[in-house]
Symmetry: C2
Subunit: 177 residues, 2 copies
């Protein structure tokens, strides 16, 4: 079983950190993972993407060509990074920023990610961890224990409790929808 | 012109951050970059690597097969990640941690990276930025302005001055050797 993820939005939304956390959670679960950022000319427009492949087997090719799960946290990212999804892809949007997603999908999941981060933790900067919670709940690709451990290992000291709350908020967004 | 970098050591040395900073500096210089982490079974031993490709052209394949520059910041990383270097590779070691590097190289550069970080900034955790400074000075792959800007954009607020000093320390290690 292999999952291909692409997290996209704007610089400053913490999507590379989200990708690293998901990859490190996969390792804790005994899986293999590749996490990458490709910066092409479009990166200079302020858009940003991070990709993660999680697999039970050895991963030989590290680029995501068709994402199983595409997270879009800005309208520009939706326009730029949804061109290679297909009819099986799950597209997760942040309703605060995204209206239209041109790419095809099997399921579209619109969630108030940033709104929920502000409500639960008081700051938009926890939105990436809310997104991580939502995506792990949607896909079940890593265990609850592993994702919490990976979050706590990567976030700044002193922010552990808020990040735990952000993670739980993201999981609840999916479970209660 | 394409440069392939691999930064290796142990978890907690900040090598993923170092890779992201180098990639973001390349973008500021108008180049393309791919930054990635592959976590295989060896990642569970505590070893860690981050790879960066910097190019003037579009990068189609994002994995480093033979690094032009290999940084090793632990003996275990030297043993694990130097197997695919060749007679043109530059191998940079942190003299505090590394004695032997089994891989072939065209040039081996032994630098007191962590020692210099402690001396200049008072903490080992600036060693990754010292290493970034050393590697950009060695290769000239990104401009001085771009690397400073990229460092300042990624480090925690309040640590900007110490990180600037760490960067300059790394550059000086190479220039004064």
């Amino acid at each position: 079983m292999t999952h291909n993820f692409r997290f996209s939005g704007t610089g400053g939304q913490g999507l590379i950190t989200a990708g690293i956390i998901l990859a490190e959670a996969a390792i804790l679960d005994g899986k293999e993972a590749v996490q990458s950022q490709s910066y092409g000319p479009e990166a200079r427009g302020g858009s940003s993407k991070a990709e993660v492949i999680v697999s039970d087997e050895t991963i030989y090719f590290g680029r995501v060509t068709c994402p199983d799960v595409l997270l879009v946290m800005s309208q520009e990212a939706a326009d730029k990074y949804s061109g290679d999804t297909n009819e099986h892809s799950i597209i997760v949007t942040d309703t605060l920023f995204v209206k239209d997603v041109p790419g095809r999908c099997g399921e579209r999941v619109d969630l108030p990610i940033t709104h929920a981060a502000v409500e639960a933790c008081g700051k938009t900067l926890f939105a990436n961890i809310v997104a991580v919670g939502a995506i792990t709940a949607l896909t079940g690709c890593v265990s609850d224990e592993a994702i919490e451990k990976a979050v706590l290992a990567r976030v700044p000291k002193g922010t552990e409790e808020a990040n735990k709350k952000a993670l739980q908020t993201g999981i609840a967004l999916v479970k209660n929808r």
